[in-house]
Symmetry: C2
Subunit: 370 residues, 2 copies
């Protein structure tokens, strides 16, 4: 039921049908290179989050730049990457349904598979699936280091669960998952710095507690696009899971950068067209609630201070015109408010360089909710 | 690239993998019947909006209850319905790209096809496509009756554009599209009543202006789930486009009903599972930003005042627990904030009756943006 692709490789960009999800390859490659270079210079592991792109072709570009593998958030998402040859996938989420655990274990026949646990009973269910399939799965204890989402409390509870995991046949205790999601979009650099300092303290306390229980902690994994330079510098994390850095979205761009903090380039856009110009101050484009996710604010028309995206309905985007009216059919590159759930609306990414389409990439894990 | 279905017909509802989009058939049929009965009693045409469901199997249920056809908002969406045998489709949107107009005209070989115009140049482009393919297309003048989106101003501008359409070979002037989208979610019944009274005045003024220009106005089409009883009673509209009535979402449920106004039943849910219970007051379910659209507010856990959906990240829904903690794996029916863009996230609708899956319906027009 996938939609037909909106373009063909070799097409001029003007021939792409709108709305389409497009990626500027030059900007994408700059982002990929910049992060890989810094993480490598520090000697850390890079395991980018593939929930941002859901696209095996992009995962391959990340692995080619030294990534050890990718993160996913669902079993079916992981399956889409394993199927395309990604050999090491960490599901950064709790999985408790037996049917899903069985599918996860089956993936471990073809790839190294990790998953998070924050509950002893969940660890037992995971172990049963691994034993049933005859594989070993990397189990990471998720620690709540400030996000207030999943995870055990820092310190002794982490050690207790790690010890429990070690006692389960079919599981390998792989380390701690310490991701502070709530810090990523704090607007001021000082807030982000303080949040990660606090998360580092909780992560370290948990690591020490596990070590006191006589276990090694091979990996402490976490970090996101808003804070990764702090995790990188902390000496606590040895694996970074940054995801949105490849695309940058309007919401990340609303963060104020700290002194010396790297800014990534916008590489992901929805290509949209003006379909109606009812008045001199209002134009309507063909990309609305089904072309963008609005959970993190409005999209932004790239390079056009004369057109302000004001509101949306299902298939309409209402633009305020603050200069000469645009022409009917005029094409716009629009930066999504939030890249991850926006990508999840599309079957294809149109990858272009300059004014030419280079690739049509299937968003293979789109809609992979299971 | 569609995801595998989360269930098989005949399965018990407990076997459906989560998150899944599920429809309670008893509630759906009550909604379908109730609206069809009232519109028929008044002798009006019913052309439900298929953007809400994107599912040909549901369109067939509507046609079986007397609908003349359906509305869509994109050409590719219309194609999905024509392909499944729906013989009359109105695209309630402006289409100006020549490639899309050509595809639209090709659909008119197999079905009666209508589309909106709010610009003379757009009418010419539409006529060229119709002539090229050798078909006749119904052109409706969109009038801005209060929504502040597309559309010409009421009165003479509508008459002028209608006259222009009549002069174009390949087009049939079919009537006026007078939809007040902004009125649908006004919370108080008095506001909604006043908004539609104003829209009725503008619609009538436009109809009279067209008639003064010597043309007939066969159809005045519009209305939505929030206001349809006012359009029905007005004597101005003779075709209703109601869409969300089949499902009802949390946002429509936040409208205060007026005296005697019909309330539809919630029939659409995301079936979700609890995957983590980190504290006695917090539980996490497996349905987040990629399982619901958040443009119109938060989802609501159906029938569970003890669980309040508070916030979401990509694949997590954070629930506040105000009673005994739910069990790991416990399943919840969650009402989407906004049904239309939520449906657009799923490849399948699981239609169930009681505790048994009856149908797996492909959401054939999911992602049909072109």
């Amino acid at each position: 039921m996938a939609q037909r692709p909106p373009a063909t490789p070799g097409d001029p960009i003007e021939a792409v049908e709108t709305p389409a999800l497009v990626v500027d390859l030059d900007a994408l490659e700059r982002n990929l290179d910049a992060l890989a270079r810094d993480v490598k210079a520090k000697g850390l592991r890079l395991r980018p989050h593939a929930k941002s792109h859901k696209t095996p072709e992009i995962a391959k570009l990340q692995v080619a730049r030294g990534a050890v593998g990718v993160c996913c958030q669902k079993v079916d998402e992981a399956a889409a990457f394993v199927e395309e040859g990604i050999g090491d996938v960490l599901v950064t989420n709790e999985i408790v349904a037996p049917s899903k655990l069985l599918r996860l274990a089956q993936l471990a026949r073809a790839a190294r598979i990790g998953v998070l646990v924050d509950d002893a009973r969940a660890a037992e269910l995971l172990a049963q699936a691994a034993q049933h399939v005859g594989v070993t799965i990397d189990a990471y204890v998720e620690v709540d280091v400030g996000a207030g989402r999943c995870g055990v409390l820092p310190g002794e509870p982490a050690a207790k669960l790690a010890t429990h995991i070690v006692g389960e046949r079919g599981l390998r205790f792989a380390g701690l998952h310490c991701y502070h999601g709530a810090a990523q979009h704090m607007r001021s650099p000082d807030e982000r710095r303080a949040a990660i300092a606090s998360a580092a303290e909780k992560s370290l306390a948990s690591k020490h507690a596990v070590e006191r229980a006589g276990l090694q902690v091979p990996i402490v994994t976490g970090a996101g696009t808003g804070t990764w330079e702090h995790e990188l510098a902390s000496g606590v994390w040895n694996e970074l899971q940054v995801g949105s850095y490849i695309f940058m979205d309007a919401d990340y761009a609303r963060n104020t950068a700290g002194v010396g903090e790297k800014r990534f380039d916008h590489s992901l856009f929805v290509l949209a067209s003006v379909m109606s110009v009812p008045t001199s101050t209002r134009a309507i484009c063909d990309a609305g609630l089904k072309a963008f996710s609005f959970d993190s604010g409005l999209p932004v028309v790239h390079g056009r201070s004369d057109l302000v995206y004001k509101k949306a309905s299902d298939e309409h985007g209402v633009l305020e015109v603050v200069g000469p009216a645009p022409a009917l059919g005029e094409r716009l590159r629009v930066i999504p408010g939030h890249c991850d759930p926006t990508v999840n609306l599309y079957d294809w990414i149109v990858a272009y360089r300059g004014d030419r389409v280079e690739h049509l990439w299937p968003v293979a894990a789109r809609g992979a909710l299971g």
